[in-house]
């Protein structure tokens, strides 16, 4: 194969170092793959840290939603702490959509998606890099939502089991959500389509999440709420695996 990076330079005046040959590490391997996943995640995190538009919108929306729910239920529900698990998970799911819309939306809008697709990387690396970045965003948002739900609904959410459940649920949500974001990125009405596609598929996570939060707040035993963790674990495992396997298919004919 005659394709090698050019190995000679004609003598020129002026800056000529741009035409030096480059050496690229072309062997594959897990470390190279992980390096790229980390690079993509880091890029997303850094871009967000600079622009600050995505995360602040998610946090603002979620805090607002909790307050509105609190007010709505205060008027009618005798024991507001009973609805707290539902409120927590509803807010997380809906606020998360705001973030997910931007996962690929921003790339498509700016045209940088082509740059990612042009790179000699396994497309699944894009998937995992973005999942990691989105997890960071969602967990940050949840760090705001949990204390506020705690205050407004007067429930102690800082149990390790509840937080573990929240983590697993968020993982499943982000894994499927990122894939669906890729699916909707180039279709019409992308922002409205994503929640319509995503939320019905999230029902197991939602039910398991509310179930385990409610069980723990009610003071039940691990044996009883363990089943919810089973659902979350199975969901996460199955869907992350499948997403990894088929992510490439999405970009088949750009």
């Amino acid at each position: 194969m005659t394709l090698t990076a050019p190995s000679h330079n004609p003598p020129l005046s002026g800056p000529q170092t741009d035409l030096q040959p480059v050496s690229m590490r072309t062997e594959g391997g897990l470390r190279a793959y992980l390096r790229k996943v980390v690079a993509i995640a880091a890029k997303d995190l850094r871009a967000e840290a600079r622009a600050k538009e995505n995360l602040s919108a998610m946090i603002a929306f979620s805090v607002l939603a909790v307050v509105v729910f609190g007010l709505a239920f205060d008027l009618r529900v005798p024991r507001a702490d009973m609805v707290a698990p539902g409120v927590l998970w509803v807010v997380v799911l809906f606020a998360g959509v705001l973030g997910l819309n931007r996962v690929f939306g921003a790339e498509v809008d700016r045209g940088s998606l082509s740059a990612l697709l042009l790179a000699p990387i396994d497309r699944s690396a894009i998937y995992f890099g973005k999942v990691i970045a989105q997890m960071a965003f969602m967990l940050t948002m949840e760090a705001f939502v949990v204390p506020i739900v705690l205050v407004i609904f007067d429930v102690n959410l800082f149990s390790p089991w509840i937080l573990a459940g929240l983590f697993l649920g968020t993982l499943g949500y982000v894994s499927v959500g990122t894939l669906f974001a890729a699916l909707t990125a180039s279709t019409r009405a992308r922002e409205t389509m994503l929640p319509i596609l995503l939320l019905p598929v999230m029902v197991p996570i939602f039910v398991a999440g509310v179930g385990l939060t409610a069980n723990i707040l009610d003071g039940r035993e691990v044996a009883e709420f363990g089943r919810w963790f089973l659902i979350l674990a199975v969901y996460d495992l199955v869907f992350i695996t499948i997403a990894f396997l088929i992510f490439d298919l999405i970009w088949e004919d750009a």
Binding site: V176, L179, F180, L183, T184, T187, R188, A189, M193, I196, L197, P200, V201, V203, P204, V207, A208, V210, G211, N215, E224, R227, W228, I231, V234, Y235, V238, F239, I242, I246, L249, I250, E252, D253
Partner: protein, 247 residues
């Protein structure tokens, strides 16, 4: 040889056409039989009375629609997987057709469920795990159809549709189980509401037979509608291809 003659010859391909006609006729007969059986033949439930007793007859339609929705689920799950493996558009059309018919059956399940629930349990809606799963299924179907609608490229539409269908249907078993476990620990709020009892009536012989008729009738109905719809989709795609060739 005129084009019309060629087209006519293509569509009248003997065996399949006759089979489809037979299927459609069988469907009409079976559905008529079901109407008769559910309204007249099946004896009223002994332990129920008044409105509840009459409303119980909706149960046959309800179960039938459920079977249709289940058939839709199975066919579309198979269709999407096979499409992704073979890229044969016929399977994509089968997926779309079965989801469309499945949506109608699913809506039927929900509506008949509502009409049955009010006289029986004095509430329009119960979060019965089967009803919940049926509702989520219909929402998934509608999302699938809306999604497809927004994609112009034929192959991308088929591919993305199949990918979504795959995810959607994989989540349904988990949805069902989570709804079931949720119900079993949920405090009973409405009087007379026993989520596992399904309206609590004993099944007599005529009722079992009617259920059997319902199962057959709705399976036939699903098949006819799905195949007819599949044929239409095929012709639509063919028409689009011909239009492209002309240009």
């Amino acid at each position: 040889m005129t084009t019309a003659a060629m087209t006519r010859r293509r569509t009248a391909t003997g065996g399949w056409e006759v089979a489809l006609l037979a299927l459609n006729v069988a469907t009409v007969i079976a559905m008529a039989a079901l109407v008769w059986a559910s309204l007249l033949y099946a004896r009223p439930a002994i332990n129920l009375s008044g409105d509840e007793q009459t409303a119980q007859r909706i149960f046959y339609l309800h179960m039938g629609c459920n079977i249709g929705a289940l058939a839709g689920f199975i066919v579309s799950l198979t269709g999407s997987i096979i499409y992704l493996l073979t890229r044969n558009l016929d399977w994509d059309r089968a997926t779309q057709a079965s989801i469309e018919v499945g949506t109608i059956c699913g809506l039927g399940t929900i509506v008949t469920g509502i009409f049955w629930a009010k006289p029986t349990w004095n509430t329009y809606w119960t979060w019965d795990p089967r009803l919940t799963t049926a509702t989520i299924t219909v929402l998934l179907y509608i999302a699938y159809l809306l999604f497809r609608n927004g994609i112009d490229n034929r192959r991308t539409r088929a591919r993305f549709g199949s990918i979504y269908a795959l995810f959607a249907f994989l989540s349904l078993p988990l949805t069902y189980y989570s709804a079931r476990w949720f119900r079993s620990i949920h405090p009973v709020v409405f009087s007379g509401d026993n989520p596992e009892a399904q309206g609590g009536f004993a099944l007599g012989a005529t009722m079992t037979q009617t259920l059997f008729i319902a199962a057959i009738a709705f399976s036939l109905l699903f098949s006819s509608l799905m195949i007819l719809r599949w044929r239409i989709l095929r012709l639509e795609d063919r028409a689009a291809e011909l239009r492209e060739e002309i240009e």
